[in-house]
C-alpha cells in the first residue's frame, strides 16, 4: 500500500518537472522561433523531468521520506529510463533532424538516421576502453556499462564548464578588468564604419552601372578565360569597360572590414554599458562578490593541483569533517545525527539548485548565440543531451559531498563503478580548463586595447 502512495508521489512530481521543462522550453529557449516539431519539446521536457527526479530522490534519501525499498525501486527505474533516453532516443532524433536538413538525403531520412545512430553507438562504446572505470565482472548490456560511459562524458563537461566558470565569473564581475571606453571612441569607430560602407556603395554603383551599360549595348559578358585570354584582355580591353573582377575583390575586402568594424563597435557599446552598470549599487555589489569568487577560484585550483600531485582522494565529506572539527577542536557539543542530516540536506540542496540554475542559464545563452531557424531543433536536442549527461554525472560526484550513511543508495544502484576515478578525472579536466581559460582571457584582454591604439 505504501508503495502505491510513494509511486503516486513520484509520478506527480515527475509530471510537475515535465511541466516546468515544457514552460522553460516555450518561454525561454524558443522565444523567437515557432515550434513545428512537438517531438523536440517533448524529448527535452522528458529529459529534464527525469534528471530532476534523480535529484529529488537524493533529497528524499537524506530526509528519509518514503519507504526505503520503494526509493530503491524508483532509483533503478529512473536510471533505466534516463539512460534509455540519453543513449537511444536523443541521439536518434539528433541524427534524424540533421539528416532532414540536408536536401540530398531527404528521401531516405529514417535509414540515414539509423546509420548515424549506429555510428554514434560505436564511438560511444569505444569510449570506455581507455578508461579504468569498470571491474570486469559485468556483462555487456548492464546498466554499469552505459552509465560509466555517460559518466565520463558528463564529468568532462562538468569540469570544463566549471573550470571556465570559475575563471570567467570574477573576470566579468570585477570592474578592475573593464577597459576605459569614452563616447568619442565609439563615435570615431562608428564614423569609420559608415565611411567603409559608403566606399562599398560607391564601388557597387560603378559595377551596377557598368553591368547596365553592357546589357544595354548588347555586349556579351566575356570573362577572360585561361592564360591567353588574360594576355589578350590586357591589350584589347575597351576603354569604357571596367575591370569588374578587380572591383569585386576590393568590395569583398571592404565588406570583411565593415564586418570587423561592426563587431568592434558592438563590443565597445557592451563595454560602455558594463561601465555604467558597475556604477550602480547592483554593480558595486557584484564587484565585491567578484573579489570573493576570485579567492575561491584560486583555492579550487590549488586544491585540484594538490589532489593530483599527492594522489589524494578525500575520504570524508565536508559535512562530517565540519562536525568533527567543531566537536573535537572547538568543543561544542550537539546532536550529531540530527544536525548532520539537516546540514547535508541544505548543502546538497544548494549544490543541486545552483547547478541546475547555472546550467539552464548557460544553455539559454549558448542557444541564443548559435541557433538559427534551420538548426534550432538540432541544437535544442544537443542541449538536452548535454543536460542529461551533466545531471547524471552530478549524481555521481555529489556522492562525495554526502555522509556515509546516505551514500549507500547511490553505491547500491550504480553498482561497482570506480568513483575515485571520476573524481580524479574531474580534477584533471578542471585544472586544464581553468588554466586554459586564464590564458585565453589574458590574451583576449591584452589584444583589445592594442586594436584601439591602432586607430
Amino acid at each position: 500500500m505504501s508503495f502505491l502512495i510513494d509511486s503516486g508521489i513520484m509520478v506527480t512530481s515527475q509530471v510537475l518537472f515535465f511541466g516546468f521543462g515544457w514552460l522553460f522550453f516555450m518561454r525561454q529557449l524558443f522565444k523567437d522561433y515557432e515550434v513545428r516539431q512537438y517531438v523536440v519539446q517533448v524529448v527535452f521536457s522528458v529529459t529534464f523531468a527525469f534528471s530532476c527526479t534523480m535529484f529529488e530522490l537524493i533529497i528524499f534519501e537524506i530526509l528519509g521520506v518514503l519507504n526505503s525499498s520503494s526509493r530503491y525501486f524508483h532509483w533503478k527505474l529512473n536510471l533505466c529510463v534516463i539512460l534509455l533516453v540519453l543513449v537511444f532516443m536523443v541521439p536518434f532524433y539528433i541524427g534524424y533532424f540533421v539528416v532532414s536538413n540536408i536536401r540530398l538525403l531527404h528521401r531516405q531520412r529514417l535509414l540515414f538516421a539509423c546509420v548515424v545512430w549506429l555510428t554514434f553507438m560505436y564511438f560511444f562504446w569505444k569510449l570506455g576502453d581507455p578508461f579504468p572505470i569498470l571491474s570486469p565482472k559485468h556483462g555487456i548490456l548492464s546498466i554499469e556499462q552505459l552509465i560509466s560511459r555517460v559518466g565520463v562524458i558528463g564529468v568532462t563537461l562538468m569540469a570544463l564548464l566549471s573550470g571556465f566558470g570559475a575563471v570567467n565569473c570574477p573576470y566579468t564581475y570585477m570592474s578592475y578588468f573593464l577597459r576605459n571606453v569614452t563616447d568619442a571612441d565609439i563615435l570615431a569607430l562608428e564614423r569609420r564604419l559608415l565611411q567603409t560602407i559608403d566606399m562599398i556603395i560607391s564601388k557597387k554603383k560603378r559595377m551596377a552601372m557598368a553591368h547596365r551599360t553592357m546589357f544595354q549595348k548588347g555586349e556579351v559578358h566575356n570573362k577572360p578565360t585561361g592564360f591567353w585570354g588574360m594576355i589578350k584582355s590586357v591589350t584589347t580591353s575597351a576603354p569604357g569597360s571596367e575591370n569588374l573582377s578587380l572591383i569585386q575583390q576590393e568590395v569583398d575586402a571592404l565588406e570583411e572590414l565593415s564586418r570587423q568594424l561592426f563587431l568592434e563597435t558592438a563590443d565597445l557599446h557592451a563595454t560602455k554599458e558594463r561601465i555604467e552598470y558597475s556604477k550602480t549599487f547592483k554593480g558595486k555589489y557584484f564587484n565585491f562578490l567578484g573579489y570573493f569568487f576570485s579567492i575561491y577560484c584560486v583555492w579550487k585550483i590549488f586544491m585540484a593541483t594538490i589532489n593530483i600531485v599527492f594522489d589524494r582522494v578525500g575520504k570524508t565529506d565536508p559535512v562530517t569533517r565540519g562536525i568533527e572539527i567543531t566537536v573535537n577542536y572547538l568543543g561544542i557539543q550537539f546532536d550529531v545525527k540530527f544536525w548532520s542530516q539537516h546540514i547535508s540536506f541544505i548543502l546538497v540542496g544548494i549544490i543541486i539548485v545552483t547547478s541546475i540554475r547555472g546550467l539552464l542559464i548557460t544553455l539559454t545563452k549558448f542557444f541564443y548565440a548559435i541557433s538559427s531557424s534551420k538548426s534550432s531543433n538540432v541544437i535544442v536536442l544537443l542541449l538536452a543531451q548535454i543536460m542529461g549527461m551533466y545531471f547524471v554525472s552530478s549524481v555521481l560526484l555529489i556522492r562525495m559531498s554526502m555522509p556515509l550513511e546516505y551514500r549507500t543508495i547511490i553505491t547500491e544502484v550504480l553498482g561497482e563503478l570506480q568513483f575515485n576515478f571520476y573524481h580524479r578525472w574531474f580534477d584533471v579536466i578542471f585544472l586544464v580548463s581553468a588554466l586554459s581559460s586564464i590564458l585565453f582571457l589574458y590574451l583576449a584582454h591584452k589584444q583589445a586595447p592594442e586594436k584601439h591604439m591602432a586607430l
Binding site: E34, I197, K205, A208, A266, H269, S372
Partner: protein, 236 residues
Amino acid sequence: MAALDRVKVLVLGDSGVGKSSLVHLLCQNQVLGNPSWTVGCSVDVRIHDYKEGTPEEKTYYIELWDVGGSVGSASSVKSTRAVFYNSINGIILIHDLTNKKSSQNLYRWSLEALNRDAAPTGVLVTNGDYDREQFADNQIPLLVIGTKLDQIPETKRNEVLTRTAFLAEDFNAEEINLDCTNPRYLAAGSSNAVKLSRFFDKVIEKRYYLRDGNQIPSFSDRKRFGGGALKTLHYD
C-alpha cells in the same frame, strides 16, 4: 558614373527569413547560391528608372541596406545597429511565411527603425507596443514581403495569405509574397514587379519631389517639433 541621385531603403526582418537572398535577387537578378549569416550590414545597389516609359523618366540608385540580427538582441547590439537607421527613405519588411513569429516581430522591427532618435541609448520609448497611430502618421513608405511561399502547401495557402493581408494593412503598405530562389516571381510585367516598381517610385517621390528644397523632417523630428514647422510639406 556616380552622378545619379540616390535613395536609401532599409531591409529589415528576423534572422533567416531570406533578406540577403532577396536583396541579391533584386540587385543582381540572380539567385544567391550560398546564403550565409549577415554580420552587421550588407549593402547592395539597384538601378531604378523612375516613371519608366514617360517623358519624365529619370534613373536613380536605390541602396538596399540589409541589416542582420534579431529583435531580441542585447541592447548594445541594438545601439550599434541604430547607426544604420540614419536618414532612411523607405523600409522593406521581410517575414517568413512558414514562421508566424517572424511576422509578429515585424512590428518590433519597424518601431526600432522608426524610433531611432527617441532615446540616445537605443531603448525603445514605447516598450515595443504596437501603436496604430504612429504608423498612420508615418511618412516613410513601407513594403511587406513574405518569403518561402513554395514551402506552404496548397491547402494552407489561403489562410496564410489572409493573415499576411491583415499584416500589410496594419502597416498601411503593399505586400508581395514570393520565393527568393525562383526569379520567376519578379519577372518583368508580373504584378509583383509592378508593385515593387510602384514602391520604389513612391520612395523616390517622397524624397525628391515632395518638398521645395527643404529636408523632410524624420519621424522623430516631427515628435520633437510637434508638427508645427511642417508648412513646407504641402503640394503647391
